[in-house]
Amino acid sequence: MSGHSTYIPKSDLARWFESRLPIIGLIHSSFIVFPNPRNLNYWWTFGGILAFMLMSQIVTGVVLVMHYTPETTLAFDSVEHIMRDVNYGWLLRYAHANGASMFFIAVYIHMFRGFYYGSYKAPREVLWLLGVVIYLLMMATGFMGYVLPWGQMSFWGATVITSLFSAIPVVGNSITTWLWGGYSVDNATLNRFFSLHYLLPFMILGVVILHIWALHVAGPGNPVGVEKKSPKDTLAFHPYFTVKDGFALVCFLIFYAWFVFYIPNFLGDADNYIEANPLQTPVHIVPEWYYLPFYAILRSIPSKLGGVIAMFGAIVLFAFLPWLDRSPVRSGNYRPVFKIFFWIFVAVTLALGYIGSQPPEGNMVLYGQLLTAYYFIFFLVILPLIGLFETPLPLPASIAESVLSPVKPPAAPAAATSSAEH
């Protein structure tokens, strides 16, 4: 996708095929000779890790469906049947359940990498927006997947999340009834969630293909945020980045395997090993860890509709990043003020996650409200203002210069210049 392919078919058969469907040339130009910026660091390996996790979730998921029963009186038992009776069922289920968490760990690192290095800036806005769409689809898929084992947290999580829609004025209750297919979360709900949980990963796969396509139009960003200008700035995708991505993937898989084999229930909730009971709410309902910051925002607003708007708004704000951050400099490495507020934002998001996991009592509510305020102020006030007032550090002339001639830009004079300007 970087101009025309340099692939030269070697055999008659390959030539015959390539002239009819030039897919090998497409793969060759996209993943073999594609010129990547030579300075990509390990934060750039999470795209490949995510592609692996998507395939791994699809494979384990398709296999689990061969043994699962989507019916309220049988679902819970069929999951236990997978755990106890099915050959390697315990491995497949633990790999799938923890795989969802690994998928989200990787996607959060990938998103914050994009945030820090300004990966959403022109000409990569559409690439970023496709990423936001993938993230939304992942959230829906993860939520519906968690409902399928039909434990107490499955049931009550589904009840709370679907009831969010009842906050919509006038039509809210009709929408909720429509989502449920009844007057409460029940068999109809379980069946449709199962159907959609199977469908959405393939929609994610489709959007991922668009995401990679858009990535290969502009080419990846890089840690200094200066566009590639000459062949000196780049290295071929293979072997340089296949090896780097591969090494990072192996490290990530070790981490994943540690969860699957040693602490498979660490990220789960014990209440989900109790079968769903529509007449009894667990004492403390928490969603899966990857939704906790948004759950904390939901609970921080003392109004039903306001809380729901704030929660969805907190997610949708990511889509507006390319237009909220007006700084012409991409990389956070060269943005001294942005860097500070960015790391505060990361800390605030993690703290919101912790608060979301705690019962809404005492000071937790107040802390949640303060952190929620920072979350929105950062996006809507701080970020646009930094773009206007910040003096960025001097950028290197090219990627090659930043890597090959590590002439530290004379730090003291540069700082003196920028402070003299003000």
Partner: protein, 172 residues
């Protein structure tokens, strides 16, 4: 602006609009069944009434019965609980409703046991007003199941019900 020209509609314009309209109706009539199939089906709508024998419910006790897949609380209120509910001025209520409008017979309070915030089942005899307390997000209801504190916007909903006799009620 350039000169305004009135072009006589042609037979082709008519065909465009007619085809477009027919296409829109066709698409709509295909899409609607695909959407409406998700609404409650006939067996769900036909869910039978639930009858409750009140003779077994002691004063002060709350019994939970299932109606249309949802919990319904049948509370045999004490005189103290009734008095507490009736003493509240309307101005203190988020969703104002008199206690008389909430219970056909003062000693029997029958409400749908679903928090109007996000659908959890509140716990009886808890919270500041000794009515209900929702463990999910901290909504507090009084002894007439009216919302008093927390994020829920409305009182617990009332199901349709009628007394068949002094000791029997039919919900639904």
């Amino acid at each position: 602006m350039a000169t305004e020209t009135m072009v006589e509609p042609t037979r082709r314009d008519f065909l465009f609009i007619a085809t477009g309209a027919a296409g829109a109706i066709a698409v709509g009539s295909i899409v609607w069944p695909l959407i409406d199939q998700m609404n409650p089906d006939a067996s769900t709508l036909a869910a039978a009434n639930t009858e409750v024998d009140l003779a077994n419910i002691a004063e002060g006790q709350i019994v939970t019965v299932k109606w249309r897949g949802k919990p319904v609380f049948v509370r045999h209120r004490t005189q103290k609980e009734i008095d507490a509910a009736r003493a509240v001025p309307m101005s203190e209520l988020r969703d104002p409703a008199t206690d008389e409008s909430r219970a056909q017979k003062p000693e029997w309070l029958i409400v749908i046991g679903i928090c109007t915030h996000l659908g959890c089942v509140p716990l009886g005899h808890q919270g500041q007003y000794d009515g209900w307390f929702c463990p999910c997000h901290g909504s507090v209801y009084d002894t007439a199941a009216r919302i008093r504190q927390g994020p829920a916007p409305y009182n617990l909903y009332l199901p349709p019900y009628k007394f068949l006799s002094d000791s029997k009620v039919s919900i639904g």
